[in-house]
Each structure stands twice: as C-alpha cells, then as structure tokens.
C-alpha cells in the first residue's frame, strides 16, 4: 500500500487531522531545477560543508538515494512532490538548537537570499515575547536525534521533501510520521532546522513564486518550549520571513491550514 499520493503528499490515516484533501494544491513552489553544482557551491560558500567535500560525490549519493526510494513501492510516490538535495556536516547543536538557528543558520539564509535578491528582505520575527535561544528542543518521535548525531560525526547527504505532510496540523505530522514504515538502507526523520535552512540557502528562490502562493514550511522536528509556538519559513511577496509564531487557531484548537506543510527528510 502506497503511503503517498500522486502529488507526493502522505495519505492521512484515520487519526490525522488535516485540511480538506485537495488534488489541485493551491499552494505551490515555483518550478525549480535541481542543479547540483549550484546547490553545492551555495552550501560551500555558506560554510555548511567543508572544502573536503566534492560535488560529484554529492550528486552520485543523492541520485542513489532517489533510486532506492523509487524502488520502494511504499515510498516511490513521494518523488512526485518537490524535493531538494542537501549535503551537511558539523551542524546540529542538540543542546541549543535555538541559538544555532539564530546565530548560524538564519544569518546564512539572509546572506544567501540577499545575494540573489538585493532589494528584498529576509527577516525573523518572534511573536509576543518569545525567544529562540535556549528555547528549542528536538520533537519527540521525530527521529531528529539520529540525524543530528550523524551530522556531528560525518557528512550527511539526503533529500528534503517539503510537501510530504502538506495540510496536516503539527501534531498529526508527528503522529503520521511515526506510522511510516522503515526504508531499506536509508534513514528518515521529520524535517528540521538544519536541512530546511540548507535548502533555502542552496536555492534562495525556493519560496519565491511570482504566479501563485508558496507553501509555508514548518520546522516540525524542532519544538519550542512553549508548545503554542511553531517555527516556520514563508515568503511575503518577494521577501522571505522566518516566524516563531502561535499555532493556535483559537483557544484550545490548533491551526490546520491548507498552506502549512511539514517535511520528510530521507538521508543516507
């Protein structure tokens, strides 16, 4: 039984709380081509990888991962959705993911974004009096510890599937992820701050869509100490924004938005 539909979105289970299923998907990324060379160079420039890495190794291993996913009938449909390859090493400060975001990853995103769009802004907004530093931990059942451990010990190559959990509320992204089967020879986790940031750094135009609205990227593998808050990336017209904002739709009821999406990360 396939776990993903023809758009690459995970099919909800009976326990999933999702926005209405919509084949037409109003919120879309602009068409972007995976250009390994450009992605690799942008990551190198932003120091997400060291000079020891090489583009051919990145491309080969990333392509191998796609082949393995394609051979797995439970997962092959995820390839129908947008996907961004990444190579990362040395990131993932498990003790303080918030400070790492604030001091390392967000500034790198800003630099990358402004190098492509010099007249537009990238800014981070923290709703109410919220903070990032010492306030962000790994989400339970996200498998993100293993991802971070690998990033710390070695370099990691993988793919970020940003629309895997499109239209799911945050809790349902987590519970549905937990229900997914293992993938032979590969690892998986809910997407977190490192590879989502990496994707925005390597493809700064990722969320900039001139013809329709882009999805809003939830960093579901990161959990704020205030459970009402979520971390997201979104475009605002030609601009890019990071928000630490409430996920409460109204008192006691969380947001379930057609536009919000959680990602699935599959890596070697």
């Amino acid at each position: 039984m396939a776990y993903f539909n023809s758009n690459g979105v995970c099919i909800p289970s009976s326990s999933s709380r999702t926005y209405k299923y919509n084949e037409n998907q109003y919120y879309k990324f602009a068409d972007f081509q995976v250009n390994y060379e450009s992605i690799f160079n942008n990551l190198l420039k932003s120091r997400l990888i060291s000079k020891l890495r090489n583009k051919d190794d990145f491309e080969k291993k990333a392509t191998d991962i796609l082949l393995k996913i394609g051979e797995n009938p439970l997962y092959s449909n995820v390839l129908n959705g947008p996907k961004i390859p990444f190579i990362i090493e040395g990131f993932g400060n498990e003790n303080d993911l918030g400070t790492e975001l604030e001091n390392e990853l967000l500034p790198k995103i800003k630099d990358s974004f402004n190098s492509k769009y010099s007249e537009c802004y990238f800014k981070a907004i923290l709703q109410s009096d919220s903070e990032l530093s010492s306030s962000v931990k790994i989400t339970n059942n996200s498998n993100y510890e293993a991802f971070i451990n690998k990033c710390q010990k070695d370099y990691v190559i993988g793919w970020y599937f940003p629309t895997a959990f499109m239209g799911y509320d945050i809790d349902s992204q987590i519970t549905r992820f937990k229900e997914l089967p293992e993938i032979t020879d590969l690892n998986k986790c809910l997407s977190g701050g490192i590879e989502i940031s990496s994707s925005l750094i390597s493809i700064p135009e990722l969320l900039i869509n001139t013809s329709t609205y882009s999805p809003i990227l939830c960093i579901t593998a990161y959990q704020h100490v205030d459970p009402r808050l979520v971390l997201i990336f979104k475009s605002y017209g030609p601009h890019l924004e990071f928000w630490c904002m409430t996920q409460m739709l109204t008192k006691g009821i969380t947001q379930v938005s057609e536009q919000w999406t959680g990602g699935l990360t599959i890596y070697n």
Partner: protein
C-alpha cells in the same frame, strides 16, 4: 556575514510609529491601551481582536463610484429594482450593546463607513454609543463634506482617525472614477482639515490590475511619503458593481509589487504584517463588517454572513467564523480578491440566494453553513 541582531525583528513586529501611538493611548484611552496589551499577551492562545467595520445608514452615499461594492446594499439601488428592505435595522441601542460586547471581547477598533458615513444625521449619537474612550473610532469618508469644521467636530466627539479615499493623483481621473466633479479638490481639503484637527489620517486608494505599475501610482506613493500620510491600498474585488469586471482583479504580480513597495513607501494593505501578526488573509481574525441589519460579514468585500449580532452574541459568531475552513485557518492570499475557487463559490452563492431574496448579505445558513468546519483537536 550578517549579525543575528540585524535579522531578528522587533519582538512584537511593531514600527516605531506604532509604538508611539500605543504609548499615546495609555494616556488618552487607558482602556484601549489595556486591550492592546492583553491582545499581545493572549495572541499566542489564538485570541483575536478584529476591527469591526460598521456599515451605517443603509449605505447611503452621495457618490456613484465605478468600483463600489456597496451599491447592492443601497436603498437607491433597491428602489431601482423595486425592492423594499423591511429588515429591522441596527438601532443606537443595538450599537451600544455591540460596543459592550466588543469591549468585553477585547476589540478596540471600530471603523464607521457607508456609503458615506458623514451623511448620517445621527452619526454623533452613534459615536457616543460606541464609546470613543473604550474604542478607537475610525471614519471612512470620500472627503466631500469633511472640511475643517467637520474634522474638528469628529475629533471633538472622540474620533481617532480619518480614512480618506483617493483613487488617482490625476484630478480628472479621480473625479471620473468617483462620478463627481470636484471630488479630488475636496479630498485635498479633507486631508488638510484632518491634519489641522490633529486626527490620525490615511489615504485609502483602490487599485485595479496593473495600476501599481503606473506612473500615477508612483506619484501617489511619493505624495504620501512627502506629506507623511500612510497610504492604505485596497484591491478591487469582483463583487458589487465590479462583479463582472474580472479584468480589474489584481494578479499576484500586482500584490507582490505592492509588498515590495512597502519597504520603500509608507504604504500597506489589509494583508500587511501588523500588530505582531504575519501578512495573511484577515477574514474574521482581522476585520468584520457589521451590516445595517446586524449581519456580520467576515470581510469588507464579501456578501456572505457568519451570523447576526442582534440575534446571538458576537463571541459565538466570531468563534463560528474562525472554525470555518475558508475563513479561520491561515492562508496568505486574499480569498475574495485572488482565490478563484472561493470567488466562484462566493458569487455563485450570492446568485443562488438572489433567487430567494434580493437583500444581501446572504445569511449564514444559505452560504457559509454549507462549507466545511475545522475539526477540533478533540475530534481525533
């Protein structure tokens, strides 16, 4: 490399101007200040504090604007169609009760609009009923009668801000669009009058497709910048008089360019990030219109109601609106201005209801009640 401090915007995403205004309110209107502070404290729980936009006096107006979405609500239009609106209208007592409920809910802004609100001979009674010490009272006007005397009168009643409509910096174009010769000159006079009366002020302008790229629009932005007047931009919607004007509808390109201009000029739309909230569709959560008969419409440009405030509590109606799948959940686009699925649903629903009654808005049970409701967390 950028410093993180340069990136992290102010915690509450407030501009310095907004902060100063808020400080002012702590002295002038302590209850307004208290409500704003509470809103910031409680927004993480999902609390909302939308503007309530009151359409008064059966939308009576002295203008005949090409883009007007109010025409189907006006007595002159109903008369033309041989229709009498026998629905009970909101009384001063009803508005007083609305003000009480709004205050209790934490709402702090009322916009009074029409038609042309200044034509209403009972406007002073309405402002008093709304309680200008507990709410910011904002007046929409085409400026025709808003001279120095009228501006002082409004400020004296406790009015907070005047929103004056200007649709082109080219005099003939504005007059022609508004269907009234001399309208442009009166707008200029109204702007001066509002400043002299020490009222908060903005210019409200309606854009149709491609206007944002015009030289005329740049001139308007420059004029507002030079004169320190915020420019509020509304997008023409395919409703009301413009229901068949699909070619007026702005594209994402227009909207994105406006967002780009926000960094250059003091311009904003209803979707601009403010009060610590991101730029998004503000149905229910940011603004609701109260029709003359008490029907609450979750957006100034829609003709579908989410309940009648003379029949049930405001809080119940707003909660219902937030739980509607079109209206509550987060979405970036303006659904009535840009989302053709919604526009189709909206206009078809209005068309269907007009077979039952010519009187808008469409009551909840004939419109939004037929759309999906968001599941509660406890339903799973």
């Amino acid at each position: 490399m950028s410093n993180s401090l340069q990136i992290l915007a102010d915690h509450e995403a407030l501009t310095l101007t907004e902060k100063n205004k808020r400080r002012d309110q702590s002295i002038k209107r302590p209850r307004v200040y208290e409500k704003i502070q509470n809103y910031f404290k409680n927004m993480l729980d999902g609390d909302i504090s939308p503007i309530l936009r009151l359409k008064i006096n059966r939308s009576l107006c002295n203008f005949h604007c090409q883009h007007c979405c109010e025409e189907p609500y006006m007595t002159r239009d109903l008369k033309k169609r041989g229709i009498v609106d026998s629905r009970p209208q909101m009384s001063t007592e009803d508005y007083k009760e609305l003000s009480r409920q709004a205050d209790e809910y934490g709402i702090f802004r009322f916009v009074i609009t029409g038609g042309e609100a200044l034509i209403d001979k009972n406007l002073d009674k309405l402002i008093v009923a709304l309680d200008p010490m507990k709410h910011l009272i904002i007046l929409d006007t085409n400026g025709w009668t808003f001279d120095e005397e009228k501006a002082k009168w409004f400020a004296g009643l406790g009015g907070y801000k005047a929103q004056i409509s200007l649709d082109s910096m080219i005099e003939e174009e504005h007059d022609s669009f508004r269907g009234k010769k001399g309208a442009y000159k009166r707008v200029m006079r109204a702007l001066d009058a509002a400043k002299k009366a020490d009222l908060e002020l903005l210019i409200s302008t309606c854009v149709i497709k491609d206007r944002v790229f015009s030289e005329e629009f740049t001139t308007m932005c420059e004029y507002c910048k030079d004169n320190d007047i915020p420019l509020y931009v509304t997008l023409a919607k395919p409703v009301g008089t413009a229901r068949d004007q699909d070619t007026w509808v702005c594209t994402k390109e227009d909207v994105d360019y406006l967002k780009f201009l926000e960094t250059k000029y003091n311009i904003f739309t209803h979707m601009t990030p403010n009060y610590g909230q991101p730029g998004r569709c503000i149905t229910v959560k940011g603004i609701n219109t109260v029709n003359h008969d008490g029907e609450i419409i979750p957006c100034p440009y829609m003709d579908l109601s989410i309940g009648n405030v003379t029949k049930e509590p405001l809080s119940v109606i707003l909660e219902r609106g937030m739980m509607n799948s079109w209206l509550g959940p987060y979405r970036d686009e303006c659904i009535i201005g840009e989302n053709f699925d919604f526009i189709k649903f909206h206009n078809q629903t209005v068309k269907d209801y007009e077979k039952i009654s010519p009187l808008l808005p469409v009551p909840y049970e004939f419109g939004f009640a037929k759309t999906k409701t968001i599941e509660k967390n406890t339903d799973k």
